[in-house]
């Protein structure tokens, strides 16, 4: 793992850009600049280094709602919280780190107000968690968590997320470097019907 390098601090590329280019039809989203981060995928039991326990519980619960575990594994199994921890530790812009930490504080305050006997988001029932997140789904805090969660799900596993390639398996993406046709159903049918391989 490498220390924070100031030239690599473009951690979150602003989504508030003026651009809406049609070349890519849309802007590249806010995203992580993790290229100098050579951390290994974290074991489930490995201690977190940037997040305290409360933050970890709350943020992991949010990630688990964004990409839930159901019949197939989700954000918890993919190690998203370790991915976020590594990101904070290594490359995240201070302003985004503060947005995350303050987000947890605000979350606890408002959940505490709404459900005084529970106090914590992560201790709410599944339905109440979803209901609450719907009420904040347009906030910058939630959007940051969404981008972090999806990035952690589908990024190369070397960054600490996508553990056991859970995210890629979910998509049906197989990361082999060599393929031979047929690639899919329609080109296979085409070849079967005597189409030219080209």
């Amino acid at each position: 793992m490498q220390p924070k390098d100031p030239s690599r601090r473009a951690f979150f590329r602003s989504s508030g850009s003026i651009l809406s280019g049609t070349w890519l039809a849309y802007q590249l989203p806010a995203i992580l600049a993790l290229s100098e981060l050579a951390c290994k995928a974290q074991l489930e039991s490995a201690p977190l280094k940037a997040l305290n326990n409360v933050e970890a519980f709350e943020l992991e619960a949010i990630a688990a709602q964004i990409f839930p575990s159901d019949e197939t594994p989700g954000a918890r199994e993919a190690g998203i919280i370790h991915f976020i921890d590594q990101a904070i530790l290594n490359v995240m812009e201070k302003s985004d780190e503060e947005l995350l930490r303050q987000g947890v504080v605000d979350l606890q305050t408002s959940v505490g107000d709404m459900y005084p006997t529970v106090g914590r988001f992560s201790a709410l029932s599944n339905e109440r968690q979803i209901e609450y997140l719907r009420s904040i789904e347009n906030t910058s805090f939630f959007n940051l968590m969404r981008t972090l969660t999806l990035t952690g799900m589908f990024v190369h596993p070397k960054y600490g997320g996508n553990r056991d390639k859970i995210g890629w398996k979910h998509l049906g993406f197989d990361d082999k470097h060599t393929w031979q046709p047929p690639f899919g159903y329609y080109d296979e049918q085409y070849l079967k019907e005597g189409g030219d391989a080209k």
């Binding site: 690599r8 473009a10 979150f12 992580l32 969404r146 998509l171 899919g184 080209k198």
Partner: protein
């Protein structure tokens, strides 16, 4: 490893830039027997440096040569506005700082221009308030060099029904068709259109000591790990070095061209990676730095003899910037396509290549079958319909269903040359070397967007006719991102209206030549690299001739 020259010795040619055009120029001039130094601002990467790390390569912009905030760009819609610094995310101008330039990460669509692209002004008449013009050369002038690109660079394909005449077949056959290509065939047939195998600068089989494509799927924005993609890094650059007369001097950023008493360029000033200034003398200079950097360099080379910038007595340097228009449309199908495998594009439709003013606007273009956004993270973040759930159980389910079952039809169209669309020097912001930032002023001609909408509608029709279960589009908006940097030092016979002559020599400076996207008079239909390289081959032949006849 090529030869190394002492920067104090005068070489025959300095070439600025090592991309699609500069790589061709380097090989052609060195093979013709001249000593050549190529100055490239980015690093010298090798195929072994490339991989599939989407975060690092794509999102972190390693495909463009790394951190962009060291080289800020500013943008405005029109001259009346103050340009603003482009924030994080994609820059306005997309190009790569590395040996091989943007040919390293391109998708490899190698459409030739058609004869009409060179004479459309005469055919269609004037378009008011634009710089729409004929080229000083014709398709026939360029055809031998298109063929040279096919055979020297390595282009896969087979002629299609709307293709312009060619003097030789393709050197290698088309790449294996993907499901997206088969579905484009089906949609086109149902609509009475003509889908054809795409000409691609990616080898379908071994050719010239390079292997055929292994269908890994990581072309768009990625360097090729096996050198099947016909970048100049994989083709021209090593051949130039092998002559023993060419030095590729990477991490060398040219900041100024200095002229002597006779008005000729005497030397280029450049900075090494530590910011230390050096000079390189040469008999002649060829600028191949792309349609943004070339214009910036000339403007930044102003002097008492050239108060408006070098080679700019016409005032046209930096003007007529053209980006082309592009937009993908997405379609979901019943069975898996697995579009993440294989090259991006295997089929194209050129039925709407020609402009037809009876549509109510000028413009033409083409469609291609591809998968964009296609890499896993990019698709997860931006591939789904705007009205799809953004998180939760249903979002998770949709990602699983859609990723392997989706393709896109991308539309590519014309951009009219407008004098008000420009590259200029920003008066406020500087890059890390203290140069003025590149300022982009760009606003599509209304016809450009009407044409794009027309092509987008065609894309929807093709997907629906192919049997898509669900088709979704992205909003058409003003073009604020350009990967095709065209027109800013346009070619022409009239020194008052153009920057270079038909042989790529600047009208003003005898030993200064330009060959890259900036030379284009019109934008073509959305795939300019083939033409940029044909121009470079042709320019190199003329420049060699001038040198041989002592006419530099």
């Amino acid at each position: 490893m090529g030869r190394q020259f002492n920067s104090r010795e005068e070489v025959d040619f300095v070439i600025v830039g090592s991309g699609a055009a500069g790589g061709v120029m380097a090989r052609e001039l060195s093979q013709a027997g001249y000593d050549v130094v190529v100055l490239e601002q980015g690093p010298y990467l090798q195929a072994s440096d490339f991989g599939h790390d989407e975060l690092e390569t794509f999102f972190n912009l390693e495909w463009m040569g790394g951190i962009d905030n060291e080289f800020p760009q500013t943008y405005r819609l029109s001259e009346s506005e103050e340009a603003v610094l482009v924030g994080a995310g994609l820059p306005v101008l997309i190009y790569a700082r590395m040996v091989g330039g943007s040919s390293v990460h391109f998708t490899g669509n190698y459409w030739r221009f058609h004869p009409i692209d060179f004479t459309e002004r005469s055919l269609l008449g004037e378009i008011p308030n634009t710089g729409f013009d004929d080229w000083p050369i014709t398709y026939d002038d360029l055809e031998p060099y298109y063929t040279k690109v096919d055979w020297e660079i390595g282009v896969s394909g087979i002629p299609g029904p709307f293709d312009p005449p060619r003097s030789r077949p393709f050197p290698v056959p088309p790449l294996p068709v993907k499901s997206s290509g088969v579905l484009m065939d089906k949609g086109a047939r149902a609509l009475g259109l003509h889908s054809q195998p795409a000409p691609m600068a990616i080898l379908s089989e071994a050719y010239q000591n390079r292997p055929g494509c292994v269908n890994c799927g990581f072309c768009l924005a990625f360097g090729c790990e096996v050198s099947a993609k016909s970048s100049t890094l994989a083709t021209m650059i090593p051949q130039a070095e092998a002559t023993g007369r060419c030095e590729i001097r990477s991490e060398s950023t040219v900041v100024r061209l200095d002229t002597g008493e006779n008005g000729q360029v005497k030397e280029v000033m450049y900075l090494d990676k530590n910011g230390v200034e050096h000079a390189q003398k040469a008999k002649a200079f060829v600028i191949c730095a792309n349609g943004a950097e070339t214009a910036r360099l000339l403007l930044h080379s102003e002097s008492s003899r050239h108060p408006n910038g070098l080679a700019n007595s016409s005032g046209k340097v930096g003007k007529y910037l053209m980006f082309n228009t592009q937009i993908p449309t997405m379609g979901l199908f019943e069975h898996p396509l697995n579009e993440y495998k294989g090259v991006q594009v295997t089929r194209i439709i050129h039925d709407y290549y020609n402009a037809d003013l009876s549509r109510g606007f000028y413009g033409g273009g083409g469609l291609d079958a591809r998968f964009q956004p296609g890499s896993p993270l990019w698709f997860a973040l931006q591939g789904l319909p705007a009205d799809a759930p953004r998180w939760g159980k249903e979002h998770k389910r949709i990602l699983e269903e859609y990723y392997t079952h989706t393709m896109s039809v991308a539309a590519h169209g014309t951009s009219l040359p407008l004098e008000s669309n420009t590259i200029s020097l920003d008066p406020t912001h500087e890059d890390k070397w203290g140069r003025p930032a590149i300022r982009v002023t760009y606003n599509d001609h209304p016809d450009d967007l009407s044409n794009l909408k027309f092509l987008q509608d065609m894309s929807v029709d093709v997907l629906e006719a192919a049997g898509a279960k669900h088709v979704w589009t992205f909003p058409i908006a003003p073009t604020t991102v350009g990967a095709h940097l065209l027109g800013t030092c346009r070619m022409g016979n009239d020194p008052d209206k153009s920057v270079i002559d038909r042989f790529h020599r600047t009208h003003d400076v005898r030993n200064l030549f330009i060959a890259d996207g900036s030379s284009l008079v019109t934008s073509g239909r959305g795939q300019p690299t083939m033409t940029i390289q044909a121009l470079a081959f042709r320019a190199a032949e003329h420049i060699s001739g001038f040198a041989a006849r002592n006419e530099l």
